[in-house]
Symmetry: D3
Subunit: 193 residues, 6 copies
């Protein structure tokens, strides 16, 4: 698809805005939108409204939640040959990266993480889910920019005067480096008895 050399994981920040409805969490959406031939993560801005059959999280279904926000910074990732267990560990690491990036860009904010969820002063900053298609591991992590409409107490990047685009680029860049350094790390050790 691309002339350049093959890389393990590629990331792209999409120019267009897309409203996230849940149907975007499908295999090859990343490829479709960004022409990525390897594993990939895309970021884009847009509203969020997930309900009914598009809810992937059974806890949400059981408790009849809706996921709503006026504007979010969305990350959708797709890893191939990756188990659902490993994918969930990766998603939490991505949540840590979002936390770290926020702290780096706005000193003094205290972000707390509970699994794959982030909070600022007990107000919800993110939504996240990890699932699988028959051929790949998929995750969505949405960071509120403007949380209007959220069914819970929420907060967004706008509140902290953070530019969502700059923020998104920083997160993509960190996750890409993280994934590469994991590949390096597993190849640089002696085994033990």
């Amino acid at each position: 698809m691309k002339g350049k050399g093959y890389r393990l994981l590629e990331t792209t920040f999409l120019a267009e805005e897309i409203e996230y409805t849940g149907s975007e969490l499908r295999s090859h959406f990343v490829r479709e939108k960004a022409g990525i031939a390897g594993d990939g993560v895309i970021a884009f801005l847009g509203g969020c409204r997930v309900a009914g059959a598009h809810l992937v999280d059974l806890e949400d279904v059981e408790e009849q939640h809706e996921i709503v926000a006026k504007q979010m910074l969305h990350f959708i990732g797709e890893h191939f040959q990756c188990s659902l267990r490993e994918g969930n560990v990766r998603l939490r690491l991505l949540a840590s990266i979002v936390k770290e990036t926020l702290e780096a860009m706005s000193s003094g904010i205290a972000v707390t993480r509970d699994g794959d969820d982030l909070f600022v002063n007990d107000r919800k900053l993110t939504v996240a889910i990890c699932t699988a298609s028959p051929l790949s591991l998929l995750f969505h992590l949405g960071v509120n920019v403007n949380p209007s409409g959220a069914p819970v107490s929420a907060v967004g990047l706008k509140k902290f005067d953070i530019d969502a685009k700059e923020f998104g680029f920083a997160v993509l860049e960190r996750y890409e480096r993280e994934c590469e350094s994991i590949e390096r790390a597993l190849r640089k050790v002696r085994g033990v008895s």
Copy 2:
């Protein structure tokens, strides 16, 4: 081994101090010391001096590093049926947990993470490595308490008036909850197309 019901992952803070020389990073050390029958993580206090053949990290070997500290809070973990890739993602999540616990116990400290390494004001707080025995995944994460002797600019928990034992219990408790919630998370989602 134990009368109580079987749990996926168990953690123990050892009463005894143990100097970490690298030879402790072996299969069944966790079982030996804590009688844990499942996956497990132990924490203990003790000096650190790893050199020569006990260095597992080939970058350290290539650059002839030694790992030294007068007093560290050590974590050794063992997961069975876990790949080296997943293990490295887990270790970084544990590093995030150490960072989060430090922030929670001493407000105002800014900890930065680079892969599995943590820093405070560019001074190294931790050492970490993940490898495998023929039957399991093993990791060591050491948090400086008193970094005297470290070959690089380093800092320890003592500097921040943090009780290493209390800190260790908090980290163990968070990692245990994290592992459980990962197991829950992978069982609560619908697949997608």
Copy 3:
């Protein structure tokens, strides 16, 4: 979902009767009915009538079988991160447990096992199948209570004056212990050359 500590595998005997039609062999049915957050096995009583598109076993489809019984003790299990090969070995072990439980509760019965099928005096006692959803391993094992309507020579628990509920609890308890002891067993051995 539950206040108690996370356990690897949970089992529940459902109070309600459910007719088994084959559509129950789906991901998250165990969670739906029993609120189990880990791997799980449920037992319940009810009729059995599986035909046409709900037949999962292609040998049944090819030979135009139907699976019918007036009353069965059903077991439905769901394991995550488990291969179809391992799942089939587990199902045969569960069949062995059903055999052993029957022998323990009614001395003198000779039960023979052929793969995942059990027989008493050449009369069929059970039906069993193991398959996968995109996210999990699933199995069904049905023990005849009253085999009326079965298209082959069959026999049920009623014939042996065995209380199906008591029997079901015993099987669930044994399978749960078996799964736990397998986890223990794989963590207690030295590797060999």
Copy 4:
């Protein structure tokens, strides 16, 4: 190695007697003795004396057990590309087969199974262990013929007037069929949602 067509799993009853000391539980012992090119299980007769460094089971090491019997019917199996978890499930299935074969050859004997151990009237009939070499899954299951010297209350095939050789052939034949039928079973099902 052999002229005949390749088969998934082969079994051989060795003509020679071999004393089992634990060192036989190693990769390619099955190949060495029986020239098997696939997965394989061999059976042979011989004494048993395992102690010290050859004990693979850490529970035995911790409790300073020895494994001793004057004459045993030994089974050593090697599966390639098989996890330690699946291997332990397989070993328990083999234990079930030993139980079933004993019941078939000597009506009226009540054999009970606890994990991979078999008992007759609370006397130990078997020893068993499953471990891994770097390239394969290995197990040993020993059935007492003459249990003299055993450190626990034990019983052997001799007591039931069972010919150990005939018994061994029957077990090998059943395990071979079981493994084949597992392969068939995982290829004959529709997936579910």
Copy 5:
């Protein structure tokens, strides 16, 4: 299904002609047509016309390709418990076998391979794709016999006076031996440090 002993992989050349439309690349088509109970590869003759929703290769979809030929020699394979990565390596090996068989049957032809595609004098000889069903790995490799209708410059077996049936038998036989010898190869080596 079959009286004969179980074999790892079976192959069959179908007597009937079948037009390949893409819908044949589904789980259990091999079983349906050839009654194969293990992994299997079937060969058959027939036209080829794949378009729209039956295109599995997203590069074809993106570039609005159609796959057309008047007569092809088709191979459809199904491996269970096989990853998509391993499956793609296998498909390229099968392409190599097709190349080698052609060279053996018609001396002087120079066939070049680019991934899973074969060319003679820059004219396309084959089409190939590897994908997965929820339960298995599936591939299709079509060798042009009469390439009429192909949207690119193409060539077929007819041009080289090669009997497609004889050719198909030879390829099936070589792939079967290759798969068996891979199984042998992974069981005949010492591990290294």
Copy 6:
């Protein structure tokens, strides 16, 4: 280790000559010699003399073979997170690449492949083996340059006036592209039912 972006697989042709004795087939030899941080394949020139304990192939051990050649073009590859089964399929694909490269560089040579062995006019051109260290998959493929000393009828690149270095570069380049295109291929397909 390297300034440039991380790549999945890297290859290097070593400037130094190294005699291959078998001990080079070990984890991290590729890293040691070429500083490769990912998966890697190195090529180098040198004699070959493998005997006794360094023979990894048990068929060679059983038949008391030695592997000897005055000058070979050696390839040593290391893949992490790769099974022994997939590794053996990869090695055969590499053998196909060696065959194809030879055909491309010297028109009219007919090379035949039998598993991972190549022959020209029934004379052996290559030796090959695939094994595993506890942390990785390793293979060696040696192409005779000057086969003097070989215990079987053999032939080398010198005979065909092929420059071994140029040849080695071409093979490395093709294998690298092959591995990349396999990664692309498994990410560009729709799943099927």
